[in-house]
């Protein structure tokens, strides 16, 4: 039952002399949030990129749903149910929010190679897409182009797009970064409401949010996992305080 969905085993990634990922092993269990914390430049985004497939690790493996996906392309991983958001939003800027999500819905339906029927007015795309926008609280802004959305709204849209893929595991790279108190509060609520359906690997600096959300926390420093455990363990760990929390 608690067989982990995502398992990283001995991942290594170097940029020249810099070891951005140094022998990282961790896993994400079903219906849980595994938070990854660590100072800037610790290698969190690099790790996410290796899981999502945009970077190839030098060594080690990524297993997802009991399959070795280390050699899989980005789209293939996404199709298997690995969703992600980017630390810096990456969306189809000329499209409306709704069209961004509709595209993800069509990807989920494996129906891209259809050339005739207009997507405009296609309820089998619009309805699921609107549902996701509502879920993240963006329904009223659905018809605005991405360029007209605020920074916080783009983060919410990233999440809606990822959710439209109905992923088994979500990789979230600093979803609260740059959000105001209210937005960040809402994002936290949304993530809590999702936990039952989607397991998450959450990179986040906002410690309040992390302590509220996480079932498990791993601390990454200079590419290495220096500690991993429950929220209580990490709060208590002297090593983490020294290395990271700086108390």
């Amino acid at each position: 039952m608690t067989e982990p969905l995502l398992v990283l085993d001995g991942l290594q990634k170097s940029f020249g002399a810099l070891r951005a990922t140094d022998d990282v092993s961790l896993d994400v269990a079903p219906a849980s949030i595994h938070a990854l914390i660590g100072p800037n430049g610790a290698g969190k985004s690099t790790l996410i990129a290796q899981i999502a497939g945009t970077l190839k690790p030098n060594a080690g493996s990524v297993r997802f749903l009991d399959k070795d996906i280390t050699g899989h392309s980005v789209p293939k991983r996404a199709q298997l149910g690995l969703g992600r958001t980017f630390q810096v939003s990456s969306l189809a800027m000329a499209f409306s929010a709704l069209r961004n999500v509709m595209l993800a819905v069509q990807a989920r339906q494996h129906s891209t190679f259809r050339f005739w029927r207009p997507v405009r007015g296609d309820r089998s795309l619009i309805e699921p897409a609107m549902a996701q926008l509502e879920r993240v609280g963006l329904a009223e802004r659905a018809h605005l182009p991405v360029t007209a959305l605020s920074h916080g709204e783009r983060r919410q849209l990233e999440l809606a797009v990822a959710l439209a893929l109905e992923p088994k595991v979500l990789l979230l790279d600093e979803p609260m970064a740059g959000l105001g108190g209210e937005d960040s509060q809402r994002m936290t609520e949304v993530l809590i409401s999702l936990r039952q359906d989607v397991a998450m690997l959450l990179v986040e600096h906002d410690m309040d949010a992390v302590f509220r959300l996480a079932d498990r926390i791993s601390v990454l420093v200079y590419g290495r996992v220096i500690a991993s455990g429950s929220v209580a363990d990490i709060r208590a760990s002297q090593e983490v305080r020294d290395a990271y929390l700086g108390e």
Binding site: R84, A94, S96, M102, Q106, V119
Partner: protein
């Protein structure tokens, strides 16, 4: 919303204008202008093809003359064999020449599509400036091939003595031929509208804007772009077949890189990613050629200056100027 309506009116106006010119010429018995209108329609069709790749898919192909020329050669060579009564190919299958219009069109579409699949497979592994140069280089390769292969007269080209035959229509009548070109042009635009508006089109437009995003949601950009590239080449190839029929002549000049540049100009002058833009671009180009060319031999100098001005100062092309920014929703 208002801008959208403006563009729609503008499009209807453009289509009607292109229809009105040859009709007027026919009334006044000026058959030269019917031919000019056919040229505009054919070149616009080539532009509609490129627009699918460039305007909607963001693939800056600088080698579309290859597809235009291949379409032209496919039609021209088959028609040449039909006139000679010889076979085109003996082995592994026998292929005779043909003067049936539909066969020629089919051959043009098939050949340009097949070659585009090969060129696209290699070129689309790259992007940006590499893609531009590689498409250019492959087109040059085909150009030199046409020049150096002696079978069809190399550089001198082939005169064609036969008009093809389309059941029920007299293709040698200038006005009828114009209507055929015009109908194909509108059909191609209609197909583009459907394709761009479809699920496939959504993925294609996302590939143009942000490939990382497309991959991240599980759609591989490569097959999407390759498919669009092949469609695009097929439309341009069909235009090549019509062009050869219009001129009664096929030569490597329709494969030259100047032509690739000109097809691009049609798209840009009209407005990148505007369905009716290539008509405006091609018409403007031909008008400039005819009007300035009437005053001075140096019309290319002025064309260059005007084009430079458009690129530097009037991005969005004519339709952009008249109808405002493109709307996406």
């Amino acid at each position: 919303m208002l801008e959208m309506r403006n563009e729609t009116y503008l499009n209807v106006g453009i289509a009607l204008l292109l229809l009105a010119v040859p009709l007027g010429a026919w009334v006044m018995d000026e058959s030269y202008y019917i031919t000019v209108a056919s040229r505009v329609a054919i070149l616009a069709l080539a532009g509609v093809g490129l627009n699918l790749a460039l305007g909607f898919g963001g693939m800056v192909s600088f080698g579309h003359a290859a597809f235009f020329g291949l379409g032209g050669y496919a039609a021209g060579v088959l028609s040449h064999h039909a006139f000679e009564g010889s076979v085109f190919l003996n082995w592994p299958v026998t292929i005779d020449g043909s003067d049936a219009t539909l066969t020629l069109w089919f051959a043009a579409i098939l050949l340009s599509g097949a070659v585009a699949a090969i060129i696209g497979m290699i070129s689309l592994r790259t992007s940006g400036v590499y893609f531009i140069m590689i498409t250019l280089a492959f087109a040059q390769m085909i150009y030199y091939l046409a020049i150096s292969l002696p079978t069809y007269n190399g550089e001198d080209g082939l005169p064609l003595y036969l008009r093809s035959s389309l059941p029920g229509l007299d293709m040698s009548d200038d006005l009828t031929f114009f209507f055929v070109c015009y109908a194909l042009l509108l059909l191609a635009i209609f197909l583009s509208v459907r394709i761009v508006g479809s699920r496939f089109g959504a993925a294609l437009e996302c590939a143009r804007q942000n490939e990382t995003r497309l991959s991240a949601i599980g759609i591989a950009p490569y097959p999407v772009k390759l498919t669009a590239f092949v469609f695009s080449a097929m439309i341009t190839g069909l235009a090549g077949a019509l062009f050869v029929e219009l001129n009664g002549f096929v030569s490597p000049s329709i494969l030259s890189w100047h032509l690739s540049g000109e097809i691009m100009i049609f798209v840009i002058l009209g407005g990148v990613g505007r369905f009716y833009g290539p008509i405006v671009g091609a018409a403007l180009f031909i008008v400039l050629e005819t009007v300035i060319g009437g005053y001075t031999e140096r019309w290319q100098l002025f064309l260059g200056i005007i084009l430079l001005g458009v690129v530097l100062f009037a991005r969005g092309g004519v339709i952009g100027l008249l109808a405002g920014k493109a709307r996406h929703d």
